[in-house]
Symmetry: D2
């Protein structure tokens, strides 16, 4: 940056604005280069697939509670962003790590994809851990997954990571006795890995995609909803100690 | 600070630790001097009166939602602190401002406390605004208020601001047709004003007092409660638009 | 939302993904309707014009300090979002409020734009307040402003609010004895007002536009930079009290 | 909680206020019981030993940057709390985990403290990892450590965990070829472990102790310091790409 000029990754920002989309410039900031048209199209799909999920998301709940307290818009959004943790969006990072390590190991050791997939599933079954990026409490066949995988094929951007991800999905029945569908976190993990993104940027996709919704929720809560309403007394069950007297302090 | 030595407001921190309480050192950081024994006793009461309020507080709700997402402890506490806004703890600041301006004006213009109180109430009634520090959705006679005022009298720390606060309370019936009890925010505002605290530090008392509880809630939620549970579907009412088709983009 | 289906403002999200851009869906969430092609193009420009501003932004500094502490990505981004306050991005809201009230008053009272502009400037000069949306510490002729106004004209989206904003700029010399350029906050305020956005959503544009950069900074700081380095001792000047002894507590 | 009554861990809050200190009630919230006088004294020391560390702390820097942006007090404090991560206060948790696992293993396997200490140091040396709770960039002999350990002995609260912590310190020379002093994080970890606190509450002590200072910094920055000042241009070195032209988009 210098007076009257802003340079982003070597380009004058003013030569980009009006010519390149928000998704393009997100790609530029995160990768250092402008995307091709395929990559640009894919980025827009990746950043919109997680756009909204109604009140059924802890980041939205946190945003709305804070927004009900008489705070500026950004404070409520900030609280919602805090909620994007390992159990809420974090599976993208974790799944991308598994896929990137898997594909890297396949290349080094010339392991076929079926075998690598079995090794991963075996390992998770043995350690009794959930496989990140698979299964969803509500969606048995996540529509977002199908859409994103479809676009990744149309744009010829899917590769070894998507292949491994789908192979894992097809073998979950065998290892876990029930089908675990590749969820939207897993799909984003696979596609961004094929596009060359570091797995440690995984949460970035989820954060960007949820921000417009968090802003909409904060705005609605702050200006159009009622202020904070105490939960119904009859619904709260006190599970603490019975009432007791404060003792006199004795001894040491 | 220098190697092996930490100076706080001129004192070696090691000469303070073990001799002075947490409440004392909070006073030192905020005022620049150590408190007298009366001030020390009052500080402890002020910092503990708002300690907890069960789940019935948006800062606790925000903390718990974030804590359910697989984040480190401080991230959940940070979201709870964000919620301490104008409608949740913020009345301390607002009430202290009114009281400090009122007392300052009383001194300058030699106005008696009854008249000043009436002017303030008249002003709020005319502008149809809620008087900060008065009334509570649950407590008609806030036990925390009585306790704090009592201690402020015992320690001889109450003065013109507490007097104005109590006068306002006694006259609310006349101006608002119902009794508005001085609530805990108003009591803290009045007492800290008599102790010489700037009203802009008002929220500080509420933040400090709520922190141990927010930590306890985050700890309990993260390690002993179930992970985030979606709200019951049958309880969510969709009030948005009816389903519709995405149109082809036409014209400009 | 229902199992295997996500509805946004009446549309099936899956009919939107791959067809509409991130900017389009941000518009949909905030306005309830999909944008026209002109509005879509304008949205992308509005959301990218503030993309980055190097280290010269307190939100970036806050993000980087937090990112250096061993925290997950979202915690650092959350701290950066907290910084988007009245003095950092907040001028969009404030300027949009002035312009929306100005244009509304012009219509009601049939006041010409020159006169309305003079009334506003007079008011700010009399109250010795800074006019939000005008002037910049670095850019005397903000290139982002020119670009955005140009696109708003090309897309025929500029109207009475942009006209008032430019009139205000042209008259600043007369009222403040120096030229105050319409800055990027002011330009966004004017154009979004002409597009029909509520001024209370003003900060939303700034938050969305800064998020990819905050993520890039957090990622770079956490994984490629050195951990937190104490400031150079020789550069810190202690301006506090001289060292003193902790007194014995005496009397009350 | 019920109207006009607030119950904390079985006690009426009003029977506690004015009788018990802030440190006492923090202990009550975190442990479920009131502390003895020794425990109460120790708590106050633990919660004040980390009170302040000048500008030399990333939580303070983050708080001050956010406070300079025109935000309410709690927003700046919230950003500072976000910074209390693995590399800033987080060593308390990590060190307490090591000590609690070590003492538990000593009891089960009847291992003497010297041998357990050697096993731990060997393990960290082999894995080339830093031992949490030992060493400090500035303090070669952390005065806070000595003070806290001293009080833990006076109050007869120190036990097996403190013994293991001190044994580890005495053996660092042998394993790492330089003396690593037990730092304040390690001391808090050892003493709170002897008091029976779960290691997962470790950061809670650091958060509580830093809050009054974060509030003081936010207050000072917001009301008495200059607004955000851009870093000196001459000090920023642009290490990005050389300026280049935005290409026309070609091919896919």
């Amino acid at each position: 940056m210098e007076p009257n000029k802003i340079i982003v990754r070597g380009y004058d920002l003013m030569d980009l604005v009006g010519k390149h989309s928000y998704a393009d410039l997100t790609y530029l900031l995160w990768r250092g280069e402008l995307p091709s048209q395929s990559q640009s199209h894919m980025m827009d799909a990746l950043l919109t697939a997680c756009l909204e999920h109604s009140l059924n998301a802890p980041s939205v709940d946190a945003t709305r509670f804070v927004a009900s307290c008489g705070v500026p818009l950004q404070a409520a959004v900030s609280a919602g962003v805090s909620a994007i943790g390992e159990l809420h969006g974090g599976a993208i990072e974790q799944a991308a790590k598994i896929l990137q390590e898997g594909v890297s190991s396949m290349k080094k050791t010339q392991t076929p994809v079926n075998q690598m997939s079995e090794e991963i599933l075996q390992d998770y079954r043995d350690r009794k851990q959930r496989l990140p990026g698979y299964g969803h409490p509500t969606h048995t066949n996540d529509p977002r997954t199908r859409k994103l995988i479809e676009i990744s094929k149309e744009t010829h951007l899917s590769g070894a990571h998507v292949e491994l991800a789908l192979t894992l999905e097809s073998q979950t029945d065998k290892f876990f006795r029930k089908h675990l569908t590749l969820n939207v976190d897993g799909a984003i993990a696979a596609i961004t890995s094929d596009m060359g993104f570091d797995w440690r940027l995984g949460k970035g996709f989820f954060i960007v995609s949820r921000i417009p919704g968090l802003i909409a929720h904060a705005y609605e809560q702050a200006y159009f909803d009622k202020p904070y309403k105490a939960p119904d007394w009859s619904e709260i069950v006190y599970t603490g100690l019975a009432e007791r007297k404060v003792p006199d302090r004795v001894g040491e």
